[in-house]
Amino acid sequence: MPRLSVWMIRAALLYLGVGFTFGALMLANKGVAFDARIWLLRPVHIEVLIFGWLVQLALGVAFWILPRFAVGADAASHKRYGKRRLVWVTFIALNSGILAVALSTWQGGSVAVAFVGRILELAAVITFVLAIWARVKPIGAQQAVDYVGHSVRSVRS
């Protein structure tokens, strides 16, 4: 598993734990009311479980498991995963976006912060699509790579 997938999947696991914790607090509060402010956690609960857990896990696993490129003789090279740096941008943008949206939904949160958060999440998705697009390829297809490592075309081997 590439390092980037490790970071994404572990971050997703942490969001899972946090999301379940908030969910458990709300469910318990529904059974035996102890603090009405617990309900303020609802949008954060949804945000971290959908984007932090489910979406981020899917991205991390996709980056790990989708077909890789054969890059010269160095088949173990990290270049097999394609535009790795772009997916690091995805990782940073996605997590910054989730945190911004989560903070904005907290009591007295800012609409502007939510807007910035959504922009970051959109940027994360766009960078991921750009990075992963070429790796969604037929079985046996190879990505041709020029001498500086830029992909130039896809061919069937």
């Binding site: 598993m1 590439p2 390092r3 997938s5 490790v6 999947i9 572990r10 696991l13 942490l14 899972l16 734990g17 999301g19 379940f20 914790t21 969910g23 458990a24 607090l25 469910l27 318990a28 529904k30 059974g31 035996v32 479980l49 857990w53 489910l54 896990l57």
Partner: protein, 139 residues
């Protein structure tokens, strides 16, 4: 596929059917003039779908396919995997019963069961995180 992964996935499939059946019931309520209390199943529907089906499917696939923990224990602590399965499903089933009753009957006395359900699911979530963490690693 290991036995525990099969349990996760097949149980998840069962929740998938149950969730969509509840969705159908919710949609049919105004058409068939069913009791409006059926809407108390709305949060149950959402959680059977997202936790019972989607998350449980992920738990099963991850338990099966993530990198091996070690040669001796390829899938980590087996007992913890089973504990997560039992905690998650007992918590979810308890919720499915107690939540609508609590919403419909304020004095149903089921509130305490929701607290128990919350604790069971919380333990399941963090149990999965703990058991899976070490298997998420570079080769």
């Amino acid at each position: 596929m290991p036995l525990l992964a099969r349990f996760y996935i097949k149980t998840g499939l069962g929740y998938f059917v149950a969730a969509l059946a509840i969705a159908l019931l919710l949609a049919a309520q105004p058409i068939l003039q069913l009791p409006s209390g059926i809407h108390s199943l709305s949060p149950v529907y959402m959680h059977l779908l997202t936790i019972g089906w989607i998350t449980q499917l992920i738990f099963g696939i991850a338990y099966w396919m993530f990198p091996k923990f070690s040669k001796e224990a390829p899938r980590g602590r087996l007992w913890l995997g089973w504990a997560v399965y039992l905690l998650l499903n007992s918590g979810l089933l308890l919720r499915a019963i107690a939540e609508p009753l609590t919403m419909l009957l304020a004095d149903s006395g089921m509130g305490g069961l929701l607290v128990v359900s919350a604790i069971l699911q919380l333990a399941a979530g963090w149990g999965f995180v703990i058991n899976t963490w070490s298997r998420v690693k570079e080769r």
